[in-house]
């Protein structure tokens, strides 16, 4: 009984970071991000091999059979290294949706393919938070129609498309009737798309197409924790970079980190980061072990990590001064990673409104 990461979890984090820093340094991240599909087969295979893609997949289906805290540890490492890997959609949200809503056959088939790195799955969840006129999906006679304007982890083999009433379709990216238009965002390390479906026959209706709003809730809760973990990793690295720069950059004859102005900015970042790290761990643990608190804590973790993450990447940029604003210096990759995390799966405002609803305050 204790609060913290296990030895295995620390090792997972360490080995993933060691691999990413060695094999996918920022120069490589930039190359991958410049590709149309933003995808690196070698990185993806390695993630499968390390058990990262199957972290949530039961051992019977070839996964590691671990919990969301393990997935969060992996996400922290990926965020830390601004890794161009569609971990969130495929390894987390799709797996949770399958686990919660899929038939036995669907679970076993898709999960083993996910764990093996054979398939990537995008998620069209934006309309669950903010449905704009003319968007969202509906089902008719087993066919899916509608539109989603910001699909997460796009450039995948299939797309998970939930309807507002809680049915979940898994649609092949090349299904007839489906239009997929990639959209560019500030964060080139991940891919997004707008999709339009007209009478598309899904590859699967999870669980035979029964409405499973509870499964969607679980999928979103898990996604929020993982986005929070990604922001945690990215913020942590941005702070480290600021501290390193502050120790090395000399102005007025001494390292700028010896000036209280800079020193205290760094301290404020750390004071925000560390309790938030504890919150992410708890939110991930609660998802598996404390169901009564899971949704509320996930909403809070998402909102809070993205708020303090925004503060940290902004402040880290300020500590860097002009150089942090240049493209040549890499810091802005972290700035933009957190910028995207902030808006994914409910902006901080939306997540807080959700937390208020859950407590009966609105």
């Amino acid at each position: 009984m204790d609060f913290g990461l296990s030895e295995e979890q620390r090792l997972l984090h360490e080995s993933l970071v060691r691999y990413l820093e060695a094999e996918v340094p920022v120069s490589r991240v930039r190359e991958i991000a410049a590709r149309d599909d933003g995808h690196d087969p070698a990185l993806w295979s390695k993630l499968a091999e390390m058990g990262v893609l199957g972290v949530l997949v039961p051992e019977a289906a070839g996964g590691s059979g671990l919990g969301l805290l393990d997935a969060a540890v992996a996400a922290t490492a990926l965020g830390r290294c601004v890794a161009p890997a569609a971990f969130l959609g495929t390894a987390v949200m799709a797996v949770i949706a399958l686990r919660e809503a899929g038939s036995d056959a669907q679970r076993s088939e898709w999960m083993s393919r996910i764990a093996a790195g054979e398939v990537r799955i995008a998620v069209a969840a934006t309309e669950l938070f903010a449905r704009r006129a003319g968007t969202g999906f509906h089902a008719e006679s087993g066919k899916l129609s509608g539109r989603s304007i910001l699909v997460l982890d796009a450039c995948a083999d299939a797309i998970l498309c939930p309807t507002p009433d809680g049915r979940i379709a898994l649609v092949a990216s090349d299904a007839p009737g489906l239009g997929v238009e990639p959209v560019e965002t500030i964060d080139r390390t991940r891919r997004f798309a707008e999709i339009v479906a007209e009478n598309v026959a899904p590859t699967e209706w999870l669980g035979g197409g029964e409405a499973r709003p509870g499964a969607l809730r679980r999928m979103i809760d898990a996604g929020r924790v993982i986005v929070a973990a990604d922001a945690l990793g990215a913020s942590e690295r941005a702070l480290e970079k600021a501290v390193a720069y502050a120790r090395e950059r000399v102005q007025f004859g001494r390292p700028i980190g010896s000036f209280q102005a800079v020193k205290h900015l760094c301290a404020e970042m750390a004071a925000e980061l560390e309790p938030a790290r504890s919150l992410v761990w708890y939110a991930a643990h609660a998802f598996d072990a404390i169901p009564a608190e899971a949704s509320l804590v996930a909403a809070h973790a998402k909102a809070h990590l993205c708020e303090i993450g925004t503060f940290i990447v902004r402040t880290a940029t300020e500590v860097h001064g002009g150089i942090g604003f240049t493209d040549a210096h890499d810091l802005h990759l972290w700035f933009k990673r957190v910028g995207a995390d902030r808006q994914m799966l409910g902006s901080p405002d939306a997540a807080r409104e959700d937390a208020a609803r859950q407590q009966g305050w609105v």
Partner: protein, 397 residues
């Protein structure tokens, strides 16, 4: 991560519940400082009972009067939860049990441990802390209160300030300049001073809250035996920093934050005008939600730090941020409560009508005092940056 309760823990919880049930009659309800006042005898009896069952001083070694249990995170959580649920006092805390005792355990000699720890945890010796001086606040190592050798004694002259409970205390643990020839930091010793010694004068120090939560203590030719130095002469700065580490965590307890937040939520749900409850006001609710996330984070963080403590792991920067983050949240909780009370938030009289506002206003002011006391926010940031993040110190002027 394992926050589940083993059968052993479930048994412990049952035992605690049973205890609280059986001792309902003698149980005290307020969280007790040392100044239990007229109820002092009852408080001491309750404390003895708690120690006997291991619900207070649980991890203090048996030979020093404690319960001698191994540290256990969940046992601590269970005790917090069950005592809170029953609305029963956890016993006597404060600067003696929470700050001096850990310091003595780490730096005291055997005689000091044997003389002081047991009566301190039993609440029989009340302690006060003699660190700050008018000229030594943030720059604590600048203390000028000095001790001159005279035979087996020191003779102490000077002044301390911000001395909580000095008016009640039997003893002071103080930072005194004993080595005038040594450098600023190397000239200090950590001295245990009986408060009844002739030459000590205690004056209450009124604060902005309208109360006197602190004192000033004046020393005129006060004789203190040399054996009352903890550690070695000239090591006072190092030892005082041990105490301060414990104080920083004490000042920003997440359990207190959680309690404040619950009272805040209750207030916001109950405070009503014709246009609705306070919690229905968008600006108020949004601030509540932001604070709720922060308090939750601090609760998790405190569990994480407790785990580090139990495992003997150095928590790094994470261990240095509690005071800075927690005191600020506490101040903001009170500020939100006052805003929710709107016009009536400024009431500060003695009557029942003013009670909610008075309590929150006092909290608002006192929490600002805590942001300053025990090392200002600016000193905390220096500590986090230098000891935690390894940023270079400022060059000396």
């Amino acid at each position: 991560m394992d926050l589940s309760y083993s059968p052993r823990h479930e048994a412990f919880r049952a035992e605690v519940r049973d205890f609280l049930e059986r001792h309902r009659a003698e149980a005290l309800t307020a969280l007790l400082g040392v100044d239990a006042g007229t109820a002092r005898e009852r408080a001491l009896a309750w404390q003895r009972l708690l120690i006997e069952h291991g619900y207070a001083a649980r991890t203090i070694p048996k030979e020093y009067g404690g319960h001698g249990a191994a540290p256990d995170l969940l046992e601590r959580v269970i005790l917090d939860e069950e005592f809170n649920r029953a609305g029963v006092s956890r016993g006597i805390g404060g600067q003696g049990p929470d700050m001096l005792v850990p310091t003595l355990l780490e730096h005291g000699n055997e005689e000091q441990k044997r003389s002081y720890i047991a009566p301190t945890i039993r609440g029989e010796i009340i302690w006060c802390q003699g660190y700050s001086e008018p000229g030594a606040g943030s720059d604590l190592a600048a203390v000028q209160t000095r001790a001159v050798e005279d035979g087996d004694d020191f003779v102490v002259n000077g002044q301390k300030i911000w001395t909580t409970t000095a008016h009640l205390a039997h003893m002071m643990f103080g930072l005194i300049r004993t080595e005038p020839e040594a450098s600023k930091h190397a000239g200090l010793s950590y001295l245990l001073i009986p408060m009844q010694t002739p030459g000590i004068e205690v004056r209450p120090l009124g604060t902005m809250t309208g109360h006197s939560e602190f004192n000033e203590v004046f020393f005129t030719d006060v004789r203190v035996p040399k054996r009352n130095v903890v550690g070695r002469r000239g090591e006072g700065w190092k030892i005082a920093n041990t105490t301060l580490k414990h104080e920083r965590n004490l000042l920003a307890s997440s359990a207190l934050l959680e309690g404040s937040l619950l009272r805040l939520i209750d207030l916001l749900e109950r405070t009503e005008t014709e246009s609705g409850r306070a919690i229905d006001r968008p600006g108020i609710r949004d601030r509540l939600l932001r604070l709720q996330a922060r308090v939750l984070a601090m609760r998790c963080h405190s569990l994480r730090m407790l785990t580090c403590g139990i495992k003997g792991e150095w928590p790094g920067t994470a261990g240095l941020v509690t005071k800075l983050a927690g005191c600020e949240i506490s101040h903001q909780i009170a500020g939100l409560a006052i805003d929710a009370l709107a016009e009536t938030g400024i009431l500060y009289g003695e009557g029942a009508k003013a009670q909610a506002a008075r309590t929150w206003q006092a909290h608002y002011m006192f929490s600002l005092g805590l942001i300053i006391g025990g090392g200002t926010a600016q000193i905390q940031k220096n500590i986090i940056a230098e000891r935690g993040l390894g940023l270079p110190r400022e060059p000396r002027a």
